[in-house]
């Protein structure tokens, strides 16, 4: 702690203080009489420029600034799951208890509850020699997530003493030979990636539960995807669906500069919604970092780092973690605002020129890794971030910079959204670079024909696109019968396969097994129609075949018995083709 800084300038969220010699870049500081938290982002002689994590209204010339002497740290330990934090990890429930329904100024509260006691079950034994990442013991943080208490990076040696029983997060649970006492809580600077042993190739899928993603544009666990789309195209609904149904052990949801009421939906629903795989409330696997658009911009800038640090921490325990950021554009705008207050030379659209490298630094913190410590744990952080391009124009800098790094591009299309086709994924613009790497997994675990089915679907959609252009010009009468069947089947596929209602009880989430089987049924129906037409069966009787309604209602069938029902349907379709006419 060094006191003595003096405010000489305030402009928007930035403050300049003199008399700050000795402060370091990214040190945390307390600004003004209200002790508003801030971070040093530039130093010039004894003048420090500080970004302040709260509204600067009311800060006065000549008020003091204290250097805390440490960077912005995240607190990591049991109790993170189920918490709701702001961008600098202040617990919003505790803040509400202090200041009421509106967020007051200069409030602080420890991120992890100091009183709560956790049952610590040691795994390591006295005399064991431990390294960073080794597991000291286990705490059942929630009924579905066991929290591994690990040796923090930078510590190690023989264990002199290890305890069992119930402890608060600050009480030591182990004592090392060099005298270091290790509590369950550890701190980590949010802007520094947490260490791991080595990166692993992304060969496993990240199952989203959305057909259009899992079948057409699959994401690898440890990969990064971006969802760009103008307003109203359903970015947030997609992010929420992922938070609910994605195959992950831990979800870190960063609501970065978005709407308060949307976060309320998450806050109200997640404690009640249960995860289909375990039957436990979703909140037990979720950490929320919430910095709505009207909360201070500097804290918004910090929020994605707070989020990813927490995600990495659970990754280090060997979990599959998803970091969902909504939206990364708001983060970039915070960066832009701060940069312009610093009077930096602007790059494209006023964004600072370091935007691309900062974004890359963020996305690269995702990945599939072999964790530090003994026992070969493998963890993943998968990043899915929404991008909000102004005017829905994907050529803007945030979309472009993200696209260069993220290997999956789920573009949302306003035209589809206007037709209420959700998720409004534009299959012409979207892509996934992981298909080659993870199809082995799909072939072994889901469907041997997955690559062919995906190809068949893409070909059908592509053909429809071409035919639609013809229809636009000369009308539907100009089409051959075969071509009209393409339009009919592709419409069925769009409406009843690619579309998926986030609000339907049975269809909100769809396992890949079910998705590929549905696709197979649709494609075999197409094959049947083609064959019949080739055998000169009139198009009217082909269109009158009885399977259409069954195919269209497939998505609403329950999990139980689905495989049998649909396999039987496919068999009937194939038999129909073999029948004599």
């Amino acid at each position: 702690m060094t006191e003595g800084g003096i405010i000489v300038r305030v402009s928007g969220p930035t403050v300049v203080a003199k008399n700050m010699a000795g402060a370091r870049i990214h040190n945390r500081v307390l600004v003004g009489e209200d002790h508003l938290p801030g971070e040093v982002i530039r130093l010039e002689a004894d003048r420090a420029t500080i970004q302040v994590y709260e509204d600067t209204t009311g800060l006065g010339l000549g008020e003091g600034v204290t250097d805390v002497g440490k960077p912005l740290l995240a607190e990591l330990g049991p109790g993170l799951l189920g918490s709701v934090y702001d961008g600098v990890q202040r617990p919003l429930h505790a803040i509400r208890a202090k200041s009421g329904d509106f967020i007051g100024r200069g409030l602080s509260s420890p991120p992890l509850d100091r009183e709560k006691r956790w049952e610590f079950r040691p795994v390591a034994r006295e005399g064991d020699v431990v390294c960073p990442g080794d597991v000291l013991g286990v705490v059942a943080e929630t009924p579905r997530v066991d929290h591994l208490v690990m040796v923090p990076p930078g510590n190690g040696g023989a264990i002199r003493q290890i305890l069992a029983g119930s402890f608060s997060v600050l009480e030591p649970v182990a004592l090392l030979a060099d005298g270091t006492a290790l509590p369950m809580l550890q701190r980590w600077p949010v802007r520094t990636p947490r260490p791991f042993r080595r990166r692993l190739p992304p060969t496993l899928p990240f199952i989203t539960g959305q057909r259009v993603f899992d079948v057409l544009f699959p994401l690898a666990a440890g990969g990064a995807a971006i969802i760009p789309g103008g307003f109203g195209t359903g970015k947030t609904v997609v992010e929420h669906s992922l938070a609910r149904y994605a195959g992950a052990d831990v979800i870190v949801f960063v609501g970065c500069g978005e709407r308060g009421n949307e976060m309320t939906e998450v806050l109200a629903d997640f404690p009640e919604l249960t995860d289909p795989s375990s039957g436990r409330p979703l909140m037990e696997r979720t950490v929320l970092v919430v910095n709505t658009s009207n909360m201070p911009v500097a804290a918004r800038e910090a929020s994605v780092y707070t989020g990813i640090t927490i995600a990495e921490y659970y990754r280090d325990m060997g979990y599959r973690v998803a970091l969902l950021a909504d939206s990364i554009s708001r983060w970039a705008e915070a960066l832009r605002e701060i940069s312009s207050r610093l009077e930096e030379m602007p790059g494209e659209e006023g964004y600072p020129t370091h935007l691309a490298s900062r974004l890359a630094g963020f996305y690269e913190r995702g990945g599939r890794v072999s964790c530090l410590g003994g026992g070969e744990r493998e963890g993943t952080v998968t990043i899915v971030s929404a991008v909000s391009p102004p005017g829905g124009d994907f050529s803007e800098p945030v979309t472009q910079s993200s696209q260069r790094i993220a290997a999956v591009f789920w573009a949302l299309d306003p035209a589809l959204a206007h037709r209420r086709h959700f998720p409004a994924v534009d299959w012409k613009k979207s892509y996934s670079l992981y298909t080659g790497a993870i199809d082995d997994w799909f072939r072994e675990n889901v469907s041997a024909e997955c690559t062919a089915l995906r190809g068949g679907l893409m070909a059908l959609l592509q053909r429809e696109e071409e035919l639609q252009e013809v229809v636009q010009m000369v009308g539907i009468d100009a089409l051959q019968e075969q071509e009209r069947i393409v339009l009919t089947v592709s419409r069925m596929v769009r409406e009843h396969f690619l579309r998926q209602s986030a609000y339907s009880e049975t269809d909100a989430s769809c396992r890949p097994e079910k998705a590929f089987l549905m696709l197979k049924a649709f494609l075999s129906f197409h094959t049947l129609c083609r064959d019949l037409l080739a055998r000169k069966v009139p198009v009217e009787s082909v269109l009158a075949l009885p399977f259409r309604e069954e195919l269209e209602r497939m998505k609403e069938l329950p999990e139980e018995g689905f495989r049998e029902t649909v396999n039987a349907l496919i068999a009937r379709i194939v038999t129909e083709g073999g029948r004599d006419r």
Partner: protein, 462 residues
Amino acid sequence: MAGPLVFVEGVRRVTMGEMVEVLLSDGSSRRGQVIEFTDRYALVQILEQSTGIDVLSTRIRFSGAPARMPLSPDILGRRFDGAGNPIDGLPPVLPETWRDIGGTPINPVAREKPSRPIVTGISAIDGLNTLVRGQKLPIFSAAGLPAREIAAQILRQAGTGEGERGPSSPGEKFAVVFAAMGITFRQASYFLHEFEHSGAAGRTVVFQNLADDATIERLLTPRFALTAAEYLAFDRGFDVLVILTDMTNYCDALREIATAREEIPGRRSYPGYMYTDLASIYERAGCIRGKIGSVTQLPILTMPDDDITHPVPDLTGYITEGQIVLSRDLHRNGIYPPIDVLPSLSRLMNLGIGPGKTREDHRGLADQLYAFYAQGRELRRLEAIVGEEGLSESDRRFRRFADAFEREFIGQGKRGRTIEETLEEGWRLLRRLPKDQLTRIRADHVGKRYGTAAVEAGRTGE
């Protein structure tokens, strides 16, 4: 001095955002606000005309406090200027409390999930884009379109849909806060006239900054209005509807200040922080756990040159929970209200509809109407190219459906509809199309609602 900005030297005590009084040599005074300072100067934006301010004799007095507003239940029925001074000839409000107009963000964990619909009596909104208490739903208008008439109609008809309609109905604690920013006297008096006639004047608070008032004052007007709204909602338990018109003028004022400060301009020279600034206004809508009141916002903005990708509608759309978009084509065809439902959206709709709130078939019905209308619109475009002959019989039916939907469902005129009437109107139109096409509605709902009147529909459909 530069435009509306004054650089003040030799200031020893100054705080960010505090109000100042600028004393002119002729004895008059102007108000201003500190927007930046260093140890050499303070930067003050003048809220009124800067005429007459000179470098030599003008003095500045710092108040030491940010802009605050006196509040009490007596503000209902009052009229203020854009900077919170009474202009209705009555004495200042006797304050029960003072609040900073900048407000502080509602703690996200204190927010209550909005769940109660507001029935506006307009089918295009109630049926397809339901407004929910605590929501912020802007009207995207354009020059010459009747946004103000629609806003006034909503005011007249809005209610819970349970009891009597209208803001003056007994038993409802309903208040309107109206903030006019840079609109003409004629437009403002239209609203004032509406308030008088709907009997809502006693439940209305008006803040008006007209087109010929100082531009910079507009930056404060919505903040005064929302401070009053928050007080009425969360201290006094009113359901408050806030009308902000016109947000495009507000953004232009923001741009004026940014340009005067020689900031790096963003798109169309609006400042890069406009998203954050607009959010500090729009996000002041919502409901709070354990409190009865709510703040619902209905901002109106003009899309310059009908361009929805212009920064003002674009950034607004990213913050608000949907938008109601007006269409020039519909307006030209004499359809009132000319709401284009395809780009319109209410994100909170699902929270406000369904059994116990509106009706169990609402969601499916809305989806189906949307889908058919979108299809019909697409076919209409096609027809323009290939002619009616180029369409198949079933396509023609969809095309006719789109026409009827615009004329009968959207174009309801000035008369309000109950939610039942709106839904029934939707079903009436759906019966023009074959039952097996209704794939977006649950089968049991189709069975219940479609079948009964199918015969009659078959007749009227031709």
